[in-house]
Amino acid sequence: MSNKNTEMLSVTGLSIGYPGRGKEQGMIFSGIDATAGKGELVALFGRNGVGKSTLLRNIVNLQKPIEGNIMVSGKEIGRFSPNELARTVSFVSTERISVNNLRVTDMVAFGRFPYTGWTGKLGKEDSAVVEKAVQMVGLAHLSHKNINHISDGELQRVMIARTLAQDTPVIVLDEPTAFLDLPNKYEIVHLLGRMASENNKTVLFSTHDLGIAIQEADKVWLMLEEHLAEGAPEDLVLEKSFGSMFSDSRLTFNDSTGEFRIRKMTKKKIGITGSGRGLSWTKKALERIGFEIDDNASNLSVNVVRENSGKFKWELHSPGKVKEYDSVYRLCSDLKTGFSNI
C-alpha cells in the first residue's frame, strides 16, 4: 500500500472470460491481482490460451470483466467516458492493419483522434506531436510511405508511434514482437523500454519472447495455471515461477542461466573436465545430445584442452582408449554413433 501513488494501473480480484450469458459464459482465469507503476515496462507472459489477450482486452475496456476491478490512475476503467479513456489508455492489437492509400504519418495521426474536433482536422500542435512520435520510433525517412509497402517490423513501429501520438499514460500492446525477426524483436522491446523510462509511460505488453523481454522489463506478470505471479524478472526466477509455467511440458528452466531447455531422455552419464568457455559450451552440446553431466562418471569423460594457438581440442576418455577431436561437432557425432551402445 505504501507505493500506491506510483501505481498507474492496478487489477484486483479480476476474473476474465468469454462474454455471454449463463452457461455460455466461460471463465478463463480468475483471481488476478497485479499492478504496474509509472515509467515501468511490464511484460506479460503465459502459455497459449491462458488468457493473455483477454486480460489485455479487459484492461483497455474492449471487453468487460466477469468480476473484479481495473483501475487506471485511481479510476475504475468502466467509469471513463470513451474519449477520456482514449486519452488515458492506448492499444495495439495483433491485427495486421492493411488500408490502401494510407501513409505512415496518416496512421500515426489516428492517435490524435481523441484530441481533434468533429472534422478530425489536425492542428499545428497535433502535427508536431505526430512528427515527434514518428521520429521517436525512427521512421522519419518513411513518413510518406504507404503502410502496405513497409515491412512488418516497420509497421509495428508505426502502430507504436500511433500510441505515442495518442499521448496516453498507459500503453497496452498485444504481442508486438510476434512475426518479427530477431533484431526487430530486440529493437521493439528496447523501444518500449525507452518509451517507459524516457516518456514516463506505463507500457504493458504480452509476448512469448521471454529471453528478450526479461532483459528490458521492469516487471513481469506471469500467468500460471492457477494464479498470476508478478515481480521483477529476477524475483520470479528466484521464486522458481518461470519453471512452473511449463511444469506440464518437457521444458525445464535453468534458474542460474535463465535458459529453457527441452528435457531429453538421458542415456548415459559422462564426466567433463576443462575450464572457461570451452567447458561450458561443450557441456551444452553434450546435454543436447542426451548425456547427463556427472563428474563421477567412471568410464566415459571428456577433457577440453585449450592449445597455445588459442584453438580447442577435445579428448574423449573411454576404458583403455583416448581419442582426440578438433571440433565439438566431430566429438558429438562420434558419441552419438560409435559410443551410443557403450
Binding site: 492493419i97 490502401n100 489516428f110 481533434t116 472534422t119 478530425g120 502496405n148
Partner: protein, 350 residues
C-alpha cells in the same frame, strides 16, 4: 491525416475538385440541352432565363421534364455513391454497396405489396396505383428493413453478422416478391418489372421538394461522419480504443445510408452498381484514404457518372429510352473489373 497534406497535395486536391465540379456542371448542362425532341440551344437558354420560347411545349419539356430529370440523376448518383462508400468502410468490404443492408429488397417488397397486392384488393376496374403510393411503399419497406437491422445491431457485436443478416433479409424479401409475382396478373407484373428497371424521369417538380431535402440531409450526415469513418478504417476494436462510440456511429451511418439509398430507390427504383463502383473510382483518383477528401470526391464522381449514364440511356436523337439500371450496370461492371485487374488486391481496396 492532414499532417501529410503537404501544400502540393492540397493543391492537387483543389485542382481535382475543380475539375470534377466543372465536369458536373458541363454534364448537367449537356443533359438539359439534349433529348429526343430537338430544341435549339438558344431557345433552351431563353427558357432557362425565364423567357417564352417559340413553341410553348418546349418550355414544359425543359422545365418539367429535362431539368427535374437531370437534377434527379445528379442527386441519385451522389446519394448512391456516398452511401456505398459508407457501407464499404463500415463493413470493411470492397464489395459492399448501398444495398447490402437489404434496403432495396425491403423497398422492392413494399412496392410489390402495393403493385401486385393491388389487384387482389381491388379485383376489378383497377387502375395502377399512383406514384406517391409507390414512393411511400418503397420508403416503408426499406425503413422496416432498417428497423430490424438496428434492433439486431444493438444486440450483435460482430459487424460481419450484421452484413450476413442484411443479405439474408434481402433474400427473404426477394423470395416473397417472387411468390407474389407468381400469383399476380400480367398487367401488374409488368408495372412491377418496369419499376425494377429504374427510372430517373419519374420525379416531378413537386416530388423534388421532398427528394432534394432528403438527399441533402443524408449527404450532410455522411459529411459529418468523416472523422469516425476514418477511424473505422482500422476496424472496430481500434476505433473504440480511439474513443469512437461504435453503437452511435453505426446508428448514424445506417440512418444516413437508409435515407439516401431508400429515397433513391423509392423515387427511381433500384439502381445498381453506381454505389459499388464510384467509391473505388474516387479512391483511385484521389489516392487518399481520408474521408474528408473521399466523401466529396465520391459525391462529385457519383453525380458525374449518373449524369453520363442518364445521357446514354436517353439515346440522344432516338425516340426510345434504355432502362437506367442496365446502363449503370454496363458502365459500373467494367469499372469494377478494371479496378480489380489493375490493383490485383481488391480485398485491400477499402
Amino acid at each position: 491525416m492532414c499532417v501529410s497534406m503537404v501544400p502540393v497535395e492540397k493543391q492537387k486536391n483543389m485542382l481535382l475538385f475543380l475539375l470534377l465540379g466543372l465536369l458536373t456542371v458541363g454534364l448537367f448542362t449537356a443533359s438539359v440541352f439534349t433529348g429526343s425532341v430537338h430544341i435549339p440551344v438558344s431557345e433552351i437558354a431563353r427558357i432557362l432565363a425565364g423567357g417564352e420560347p417559340l413553341r410553348p411545349e418546349w418550355k414544359t419539356i425543359v422545365l418539367d421534364l429535362r431539368l427535374p430529370r437531370a437534377l434527379t440523376a445528379l442527386l441519385a448518383g451522389m446519394a448512391l455513391s456516398v452511401s456505398g462508400l459508407q457501407m464499404q468502410t463500415v463493413f470493411r468490404n470492397p464489395l459492399a454497396g448501398p444495398f447490402v443492408l437489404g434496403i432495396t429488397s425491403g423497398a422492392s417488397l413494399g412496392v410489390a405489396l402495393v403493385v401486385l397486392g393491388y389487384s387482389w384488393i381491388f379485383t376489378a376496374g383497377h387502375s395502377l396505383p399512383g406514384n406517391w403510393v409507390l414512393i411511400a411503399a418503397a420508403w416503408l419497406g426499406s425503413g422496416a428493413v432498417l428497423f430490424v437491422i438496428m434492433l439486431v445491431s444493438v444486440r450483435v457485436r460482430d459487424i460481419m453478422t450484421i452484413l450476413i443478416l442484411g443479405i439474408m433479409f434481402g433474400s427473404a424479401a426477394t423470395a416473397l416478391v417472387s411468390v407474389m409475382q407468381y400469383f399476380s396478373e400480367e398487367a401488374m407484373l409488368k408495372s412491377y418489372i418496369i419499376w425494377t428497371m429504374g427510372s430517373l424521369g419519374n420525379v416531378s417538380r413537386t416530388q423534388m421538394q421532398l427528394f432534394l431535402p432528403a438527399i441533402a440531409a443524408g449527404v450532410t450526415i455522411s459529411l459529418m461522419s468523416a472523422k469516425v469513418l476514418n477511424a473505422l478504417l482500422l476496424g472496430e476494436s481500434y476505433a473504440r480504443s480511439l474513443g469512437v462510440n461504435i453503437s452511435v456511429t453505426r446508428f448514424t451511418v445506417f440512418i444516413s445510408t437508409s435515407i439516401l439509398a431508400g429515397t433513391v430507390t423509392a423515387f427511381c427504383g433500384p439502381i445498381g452498381f453506381i454505389g459499388i463502383a464510384v467509391p473505388h473510382i474516387a479512391r483511385m483518383i484521389t489516392k487518399n484514404a481520408n474521408h474528408r477528401v473521399l466523401i466529396p470526391a465520391t459525391i462529385l464522381t457519383g453525380g458525374v457518372l449518373m449524369l453520363i449514364s442518364d445521357i446514354i440511356s436517353r439515346l440522344p436523337g432516338h425516340e426510345s429510352n434504355l432502362p437506367i439500371n442496365s446502363v449503370t450496370a454496363l458502365i459500373g461492371i467494367p469499372v469494377v473489373i478494371w479496378i480489380i485487374i489493375k490493383n490485383q488486391k481488391f480485398s485491400k481496396m477499402v
